[in-house]
């Protein structure tokens, strides 16, 4: 089984869906399949019911935070400098990220195949953070989608019971996001270093000066 086959299977059966294989460069080579949000539910339904092999088990749901990141790439461009043609480095800055991802790992217990990694991207990280919930398809996703909502702030449309799981109701932050600032409540550290040391020193300016 390879991901290309599954991709063509899905494309043949779910009309209008946009799929993209995101390659994984590591030795495991566990490539993943990016599914568009509008057809996520239909693709998942097809993978469970119609595909060969049928993916009857969703083992894991998690989230990924991709903050906005500026990537600069250098390219050599031929340009006229003082009337002479020269090769000049041109820096092109592109922005990547700025969205959240929900990641699903699917297995076929029946055919002992897997995992197939599904990804769905939200539009941004602030307001439009909706992806379809796959809990109606794989019941095992229920708590893990709740966890992803709790820690990343991804809203799963169609989830039967989307409440916070590890943090309390009324907690406003999403602790696993990259820009989460945790409360300043570890002023005492026996072996403080780096950022923790800076915090500890901020709590004890007098002692820092005196000793």
């Amino acid at each position: 089984m390879n991901l290309e086959e599954i991709k063509s299977q899905i494309e043949a059966n779910v009309s209008g869906c946009r799929l993209e294989i995101i390659p994984n460069g590591s030795p495991s080579g566990q490539h993943s399949l990016l599914v568009d949000v509008d057809h996520g539910f239909a693709v998942a339904t097809f993978l469970r019911d119609g595909a060969t092999p049928r993916f009857d088990f969703c083992s894991n749901v998690t989230g990924i935070d991709w903050p906005v990141k500026e990537v600069s790439t250098k390219t050599k461009v031929k340009k006229l400098v003082d009337g002479v043609e020269k090769e000049v480095d041109e820096v092109v800055k592109t922005q990547t990220g700025g969205y959240l991802e929900a990641v699903y790992h699917l297995y076929s217990v029946e055919q002992r195949e897997g995992p197939v990694v599904l990804r769905m991207r939200t539009e941004d990280r602030a307001e439009r953070v909706h992806v379809p919930s796959l809990t109606p398809i794989w019941r095992s996703a229920e708590f893990q989608e709740r966890e992803a909502y709790d820690l990343f702030g991804i809203l799963f449309d169609g989830h039967p019971d989307l409440r916070r799981l590890l943090m309390w109701e009324g907690f406003e932050d999403y602790p696993m996001r990259r820009d989460y600032v945790d409360p300043d409540d570890y002023e005492y550290e026996p072996t403080a270093h780096d950022d923790v040391l800076k915090r500890a020193q901020a709590h004890r300016p007098a002692q820092e000066g005196g000793l």
């Binding site: 590890l166 309390w168 009324g170 570890y186 550290e189 403080a192 270093h193 923790v196 040391l197 002692q207």
Partner: protein, 213 residues
């Protein structure tokens, strides 16, 4: 009373004691823990009560399922911020005299989760702790050691005077502030009556100390 005279009298079949001694002996020999555990330390606590380690030898075999009947709270395990109000509330519901053993690295300081987002950095931020047991998790022997230390502590208490236990002193509080869930953290983040930032010298931390590599 003179210890030598007391043992001499005992040899003659006369038992001499004081009310304080009798009172403390009774208290230390029937400390009933609250039947509650929070994480893996609770497994070691359960092991300590079973036949091999047999905490019953110290008068603590009756784990009470209700805080109203318990004398000792063994905070065994990771106290998450979501759980902390319930732990403090249970402690408030216990009648005096009551004691707390903080068992394991998490209950003492947050342990390996100290710099995480959802673990309380030590239950001593909200309730007074009598004995701390380090370890991850501590072995049943360590819990028994802590228990014996608590017994020695009870035994040494005076019933009158400034150092008397809390339940004999109307001035001292018996209930403690139950933290509430805030938007970013528990409110308050600690109870200043029982906890303040420990005084440690951090000035050399992070720098190369002279004479050491």
């Amino acid at each position: 009373m003179d210890e030598q005279l007391k043992s001499e009298l005992r040899r003659q079949g006369v038992v001499a004691t004081s009310l304080q001694e009798l009172y403390n002996w009774g208290r230390k020999s029937s400390v009933w823990p609250l039947n509650f555990g929070l994480a893996c330390c609770a497994i070691e606590m359960i092991a300590a009560t079973m036949a091999r380690y047999d905490l019953a030898r110290f008068g603590a075999e009756v784990f009470r399922p209700s805080p109203r009947q318990a004398d000792l709270m063994i905070v065994a395990g990771t106290v998450t911020k979501k759980m902390a109000p319930q732990v403090v509330r249970l402690y408030n519901q216990m009648p005096e005299p009551k004691y707390v053993i903080s068992m394991g690295a998490c209950a003492i300081s947050g342990g390996p989760f100290k710099q995480g987002y959802n673990v309380l950095k030590g239950i001593d931020r909200y309730i007074p702790v009598d004995v701390y047991i380090p370890g991850c998790p501590p072995r049943p022997e360590a819990l028994i050691d802590a228990f014996m230390m608590l017994q020695r502590k009870i035994d040494a208490q005076y019933l009158t005077g400034p150092g008397r236990p809390r339940h004999l002193d109307a001035e001292t509080p018996s209930e403690f502030v139950v933290p509430e869930f805030g938007a970013h953290d528990l409110v308050p983040t600690s109870n200043s009556e029982v906890w303040s930032v420990p005084l440690v010298n951090i000035s050399n931390a992070g720098k190369n100390e002279p004479g050491r590599d």
